[in-house]
Every structure is written in structure tokens, then in C-alpha cells.
């Protein structure tokens, strides 16, 4: 559905997007993840034809956005980082204008507007001036704008920014719902959002793709050690001694005492070594009860920090 080849954007000397490649399949929800200034918005602005790429190609359903911009733009709904709203229009006037410039037939206009306003829940403010609306409503009017004309591709730049927790959940559910019959690219620097909504994540940093996979695989692929948290009813020194005597332990760190007469430790094992049984037997032999044992998978936060602080891409395989 979306094909990006060697896309590069330079602003003078600064390289904002550095020859990135990716594809998005029809019906997929792709998450674009990266710190601020990583090149997410620039990439989206190129995909939607707002700015031109210095080099490379972006195809929307096989149509080059640079060569046939009007054809390609018909297939895209775009919610930029700052929703492009006219404060002096009412919601209805605004959506009316949007459907006119998107070339929606007059016959379908009214129906489409009503449907979309219901979908994003702005019907109750339809007669109010946009400049008087709260941030949450503005964001939703912005989304309504992107949905006008029912485009096949939705590109949403940080759609949940400025929303309260309840609205964030509503917005996520709405995006998931829309994902059933739209292809969606969504950017965010908030990690739980991406793992909650997206089927695939591209992590982008300094204009380059540093990782691309499902949220689950990213956790798996990058977590090269298995970590366990344990709570043992025994003095700290003895606990550390017991653990250190075991084979296959990479490191052990004490977290201090959270419950009287116990100690919490984090044990990191070597690759592919399951140390849960040896740990149980060792503590059992020493008669130290294990009150808690749980594995700590790498969260998306860990992966994100790991890949965005590395100089080079994680591996060539990850960067398709």
C-alpha cells in the first residue's frame, strides 16, 4: 500500500531523513517511534506531499506522490502534528470546506460529515467556533478532517498528544477500529501507545530506521539476557552468596529490602539459560524461602533506549 524507497530529506546541511526504506501492507497499523526530532514528522510530511524529498521515492498504492501528487493525495488522510484548523470557522463549516477541497461530491457530503462527526464524537460541538474548543476536541476535529472522503491511507502524527487519559484510550480504540479498513501510519514518542495499537513498529532515530518489527519480536530479539526478580526471606549477604555459587549467572544486584527480613534481588542469566530451577534448589537447600520470583521481559522502553542510544543499527536483518 505504501512503499518508501531510499527516502532522503536534507534541510541545508542537516539530514533530517537519511535514505530510509519501508513498506506498509494494506490494512496494517504501523507505528513510527522515535525521540523528538528523529525525522518522524518529516517523513510523514513527505508521504503526504506537504514537502518534497531530496532523494528517493514514496509510492501510495503504486502512485508516486511527487509525480502524480493529486492522485496520490486523494488516497491519504493526514492529521499533522498541529491539526490544521481555522479558528474562525465552526466545526461544520470547517468540515464542509475540507470536503470541498477534497473534491467530495455534494451528494455524499452531508452523510459523510454526519457519520464522521459521530465517529470521532464531535457532533455536540458542531456549531461552535473551533478556536473556542478544548485541545481534545480540536484533535478530534483534526482527525475528522483526515477521515473526510474515506481515504484508504491514514497518516496520523502524534494523534493522542494533549488528550486526557480517558480520551487517549478512546482515541486508541478508534484507531484500532479504523485499522480494520484503513492502512494506518501513526507516530508517537509515547511507547505504550505504540505497543497498544500497532501491529508493527519502526523505530527511527536521527533520520534512520534503527529497528523494525512487531512489538513482541522487538522485545524478544533485543532481550539477549533473561532477568528475574526474586524476594528471599534471608539476609542480603547470604542470598548473594548462594546466587553467586550457581552456574550461568551473569550478574546479581540487590534491590534492598521492601518487606521486613527479606531482600529483593535482580538476577541476570547468560543467554538461553533457564536458571529458575537451579535458583529454587539452591535456596531450598539453604532453607531460604522464595517469596516471589518473576521474569522481567524487556519492555519497549528498554528497547527504545537501547536502540536510540546505539550508534549503529541493531542488525541489518532488523532494518529489512
Amino acid at each position: 500500500m505504501i512503499q518508501v524507497e531510499n527516502l532522503t530529506k536534507r534541510f541545508g546541511q542537516h539530514v533530517a531523513v537519511d535514505s530510509i526504506n519501508f513498506t506498509v501492507d494494506p490494512g496494517e497499523i504501523l507505528g513510527f517511534l522515535g525521540p523528538n526530532g528523529a525525522g518522524k514528522s518529516t517523513t510523514m510530511n513527505i508521504l503526504t506531499g506537504y514537502i518534497s524529498a531530496t532523494d528517493g521515492k514514496a509510492l501510495i498504492n503504486g502512485i508516486d506522490i511527487l509525480e502524480q501528487p493529486e492522485e496520490a493525495k486523494k488516497k491519504i488522510g493526514y492529521l499533522p502534528e498541529f491539526p490544521p484548523l481555522y479558528g474562525d470557522m465552526t466545526v461544520t463549516e470547517y468540515l464542509d470546506f475540507v470536503s470541498d477541497i477534497k473534491g467530495i461530491k455534494a451528494a455524499d457530503k452531508k452523510k459523510g460529515m454526519d457519520r464522521i462527526m459521530d465517529l470521532v464524537k464531535v457532533s455536540e460541538v458542531r456549531g461552535r467556533l473551533i478556536r473556542n474548543l478544548s485541545k481534545g476536541y480540536r484533535q478530534r476535529v483534526g482527525l475528522a478532517q483526515a477521515l473526510m472522503g474515506n481515504p484508504e491511507v491514514l497518516i496520523l502524527d502524534e494523534p493522542t498528544v494533549g488528550l486526557d487519559p480517558k480520551q487517549i484510550i478512546e482515541m486508541r480504540n478508534l484507531i484500532k477500529e479504523l485499522g480494520k479498513n484503513h492502512t494506518i501510519i501513526l507516530s508517537s514518542h509515547i511507547l505504550p501507545e505504540v505497543s497498544a495499537v500497532c501491529e508493527r513498529v519502526i523505530i527511527i532515530n536521527r533520520g534512520r530506521i534503527v529497528a523494525s518489527d512487531t512489538p513482541e519480536n522487538l522485545s524478544k530479539g533485543l532481550g539477549d539476557t533473561s532477568r528475574l526478580t526474586l524476594r528471599i526471606a534471608a539476609p542480603e549477604k547470604q542470598v548473594l552468596r548462594v546466587v553467586n555459587e550457581l552456574q550461568g549467572i551473569k550478574s546479581v544486584v540487590s534491590q534492598g529490602s521492601r518487606e521486613p527480613d527479606t531482600v529483593d534481588i535482580v538476577v541476570e542469566a547468560d543467554n538461553n539459560v533457564d536458571i529458575r530451577r537451579p535458583l529454587f534448589h539452591a535456596f531450598s537447600r539453604a532453607s531460604y524461602p522464595i517469596l516471589m520470583m518473576k521474569s522481567m521481559g524487556l519492555t519497549l522502553e528498554d528497547i527504545f533506549l537501547q536502540v536510540t542510544t546505539q550508534e549503529n543499527p541493531v542488525s541489518d536483518k532488523e532494518v529489512q
Binding site: F11, I51, S52, P80, Y86, D88, I101, K102
Partner: protein, 287 residues
């Protein structure tokens, strides 16, 4: 494109801008109507219009400063530029939106010649000709303002620069008269023009070889021109500045002569600035 025209037109009347523009223009038309026609008991109406062309200098910036600058500042241009509508249509829509406010104002002023006709004989063809000229003159100035508005994202800067540019256009005949008309200064002027074109090209394309090529070819052309037809450089400065003299083209209209060449001049003047506006927006996407 109709949607853009409609939106621009209505936006003028959602803020004070449209009302201020109309009020200002209508006030001066009314004032000069009273002075020129009523108090001096004259049925000659075109004098009113040519008297108030100067008011355009003040009110056109008000009308045009917002057009592109505000879209860029509010980032609403993202909506326009990512919609399936061409840049030309966006620019043309905005231009016609502003021009339609001018048109509406002029329609209201029709009441004055109608009042005159009840008291004396009005030369209608002359008045219609005068109105066509007045409208096209204003429309050309709006095109200049639209272009300047597209170069910045600050309305105040757009207004001040537009005002300066219009003022310069207004005084261009006076300036042209006081500049030297001899052959040498014409040659120097042509050289500066060629250098400026080469420099602008260099700034835009950052290509030293081609820019130097333009400079060399241009100067050789100038030399060839001097050898073949040296009279070409006599009074060249005045001739070039005269291309931009909107006011001298207005004289025919104010005398009630409807000539085709000033009409084409005004239309193409607007066309050039609309084209430049499209190029400017296009350039912003590439840089």
C-alpha cells in the same frame, strides 16, 4: 477552487479585515464624490476613481497580508497542500477571494453614478471604462500583495513590505524621470541586471558554473547589442522601470478611453505575480 474562493471571501467578514477594507475605500469614494461631484456640481465621475487610486496603497496590504502568511504561521497550509488540489488552484482561489471583496466594494459604489444620473447626464461608457480600469488596477496590486504574503509567515511583515512595494510602484514614474538616460548608464544598468539574475540563479540553484555561464553569456549579449544597436541602451533605465508603471497605464481609463493594451497589461501583471506566488510555495516545499 470554488471552495477556496468561498472560504477566503467569508474569512474576510469573520474578522474586521473585510469591513475595514470596505469602509476605508467607501469612505474615500464617498468623500471625493461629495467634493468632486456634489459640491462642484459636476457629472464627471471618473475623477473620483482616479483620485482615490492612492487609497489602494493603504488598503491593499490590509486585504492581502493574511492570505498566505497566516496559513504558514498556523500551519493550516498543511491541509491545503496535502489536499488533492493543485497549488495553482489554491493561489488562484485565494487571489479571487480577495479580488471578490474589491469587486463587492465597487458594486456598492455604483450607487454614486446612479445618484448622479438622476441629477445630470452621466457618460455611462466612460464610467464603465473607468470602473474596469480601477478594478484591474486594484486586482494587480492585490496580486503583488499576495506574492509578498507568500514569502513570509508574519502578517505585519507582509503588510509593511507590501505597502513599501506598492508605494515604490506608485512613485516609479517620478523615479524613472530623475534617473540618467545616457547610453553609458544604460549599459551599466543592463550589466547590473544581468549580474543580479546570475546571482539570484546562484542563490536558488547553488550551481556556480551555470551561474557564471549566465553572467558571461549575458554580458556577451550586452556587448553584441551594443555593437549592433547602441541606441537600445539610450534611456534603458527608464524603459525598464516603465514596465512596472501601473499608474501610467491607468491614465487612459481615467480619461474614459477603453484601450485593450492596458487591460492586457494589468491582467498579465497579475498573472506574473500569481505565477511567482505558486513558484514561491513550490520552493518552500523543496527547501
Amino acid at each position: 477552487m470554488l471552495a477556496v474562493i468561498k472560504k477566503e471571501f467569508l474569512t474576510y467578514f469573520k474578522s474586521m479585515t473585510g469591513y475595514i477594507f470596505m469602509a476605508c475605500l467607501l469612505f474615500f469614494v464617498g468623500l471625493f464624490f461629495v467634493m468632486n461631484n456634489l459640491l462642484s456640481m459636476s457629472p464627471e465621475y471618473n475623477g473620483v476613481l482616479s483620485n482615490i487610486t492612492f487609497v489602494f496603497m493603504l488598503v491593499v496590504p490590509i486585504l492581502t497580508m493574511r492570505l498566505m502568511a497566516e496559513e504558514a504561521r498556523q500551519k493550516t497550509d498543511q491541509l491545503l497542500l496535502t489536499s488533492p488540489i493543485s497549488l495553482t488552484k489554491i493561489v488562484l482561489g485565494k487571489y479571487l477571494g480577495a479580488v471578490s471583496v474589491l469587486f463587492l466594494t465597487l458594486v456598492i459604489t455604483w450607487i454614486y453614478p446612479v445618484i448622479l444620473s438622476t441629477m445630470g447626464s452621466v457618460n455611462w461608457p466612460e464610467v464603465i471604462g473607468g470602473y474596469i480600469g480601477f478594478f484591474l488596477f486594484g486586482a494587480a496590486l492585490i496580486a503583488v500583495g499576495l506574492f509578498i504574503s507568500s514569502t513570509t509567515d508574519n502578517q505585519v511583515i507582509a503588510a509593511v513590505v507590501t505597502f513599501t512595494a506598492l508605494l515604490l510602484l506608485w512613485f516609479i514614474d517620478v523615479i524613472a524621470q530623475s534617473l540618467p538616460t545616457d547610453r553609458t548608464s544604460g549599459m551599466i544598468f543592463a550589466g547590473i541586471l544581468i549580474a543580479a539574475i546570475a546571482f539570484i540563479f546562484y542563490m536558488a540553484a547553488k550551481n556556480l558554473i551555470v551561474s557564471a555561464g549566465i553572467l558571461v553569456v549575458g554580458l556577451l549579449g550586452e556587448l553584441a547589442g551594443y555593437l549592433l544597436k547602441p541606441t537600445f541602451f539610450d534611456g534603458l533605465i527608464g524603459k525598464v522601470l516603465n514596465w512596472f508603471s501601473l499608474l501610467s497605464r491607468y491614465e487612459d481609463f481615467s480619461m474614459g478611453i477603453l484601450n485593450i493594451s492596458p487591460i492586457i497589461y494589468y491582467l498579465s501583471f497579475s498573472g506574473v505575480f500569481l505565477f511567482l506566488t505558486v513558484r514561491m510555495l513550490e520552493k518552500k516545499r523543496w527547501s
